[in-house]
């Protein structure tokens, strides 16, 4: 069992598997997004207090969830690489960072556009917004640091330390609305409480969140394949792969 797991940790073994999985995750992402958008615009009712402006929630919440979740997975891969010296781990963390940064930017952007009509301002320096902005800088710092170091092994190590230190920011983002007095509302979705919104609103949000998951997996797999080709440029199997393609 362990030997099987480690076999797929070799870039050469992982490359074709990732290639086979990408179309499936892409199709799932597309179908879930279509269903999610349909529910978001044609099924979910108008909000009693916020009118139509609340429909931003169907992007904002999934984007914010992904921004935090991808960071944890990225730091997990980075930490695994640091501990076990597996070649694929550093590549996986590099592959996740741009998608994570994109979702962090989108969470901030859609939050600003939602903040203006509901709070009267695009931006406030409150705990939730500021810690999410710090997350964007962590992603960008991670990408920049890795690109600045030419030796991939050293780049992976330095990046892993940054990613692991930065992971403390994720619970700060999540619990910021409880720990501090913020303008941002508390969590609307909880496993222990009844949902604070209409069932169709929740359904739309969950469909969009699942679409974001599938999209993230597809893009991360596509990017890791490119990174594998870039890094293992001189390996025999990559040359054969190129010749066949």
């Amino acid at each position: 069992m362990t030997s099987d797991l480690f076999r797929f940790a070799a870039p050469q073994a992982f490359f074709p598997i990732a290639g086979k999985l990408i179309p499936w995750f892409s199709i799932l992402a597309g179908l879930l997004a279509i269903a999610g958008l349909y529910v978001a615009f044609f099924v979910a009712p108008t909000d009693a207090t916020q009118g139509e402006s609340y429909r931003i929630i169907f992007i904002h919440v999934p984007a914010a969830w992904m921004s935090m979740f991808i960071y944890v997975v990225m730091a997990g891969w980075a930490g695994l690489g640091l501990a076990l010296n597996t070649r694929l781990s550093g590549m996986m963390s590099s592959a996740l960072a741009p998608t994570g940064a994109m979702f962090t930017f989108l969470a901030l952007w859609t939050g600003a556009l939602w903040g203006k009509p509901t709070w009267g301002t695009y931006w406030v320096w409150d705990a939730r917004l500021t810690s999410e902005l710090v997350l964007l800088f962590l992603y960008l710092g991670f990408i920049a640091l890795k690109q600045a170091i030419p030796d991939p092994v050293r780049a992976d190590r330095a990046g892993a330390i940054l990613a692991l230190v930065g992971v403390v920011n994720v619970p700060i983002i999540y619990f910021s609305v409880q720990w501090w007095n913020t303008l941002h509302q508390g969590a609307s979705v909880s496993l222990t409480r009844a949902p604070a919104m209409a069932a169709t609103m929740l359904l739309g949000m969950l469909l969009m969140a699942l679409a974001a998951w599938m999209y993230s997996i597809a893009t991360a797999l596509a990017r890791v394949r490119t990174i594998i080709l870039e890094r293992e440029r001189d390996a025999e199997w990559v040359r054969l792969q190129r010749a066949a393609a």
Binding site: F41, E52, F105, T110
Partner: protein, 39 residues
């Protein structure tokens, strides 16, 4: 249709959110493709 696009007066905020999201996804896929071509 125009009523739908107006989003009850919140069109700028709603479509600004969805539009930039769509743009980001297109850009990410474009950059992924071009990086793959180069590799």
């Amino acid at each position: 249709m125009s009523e739908f696009l107006a989003m009850g007066g919140y069109g700028f905020y709603v479509w600004g959110s969805y539009g930039v999201t769509a743009l980001c996804i297109c850009l990410e896929i474009f950059f992924l493709r071009s990086r793959k071509q180069k590799s």
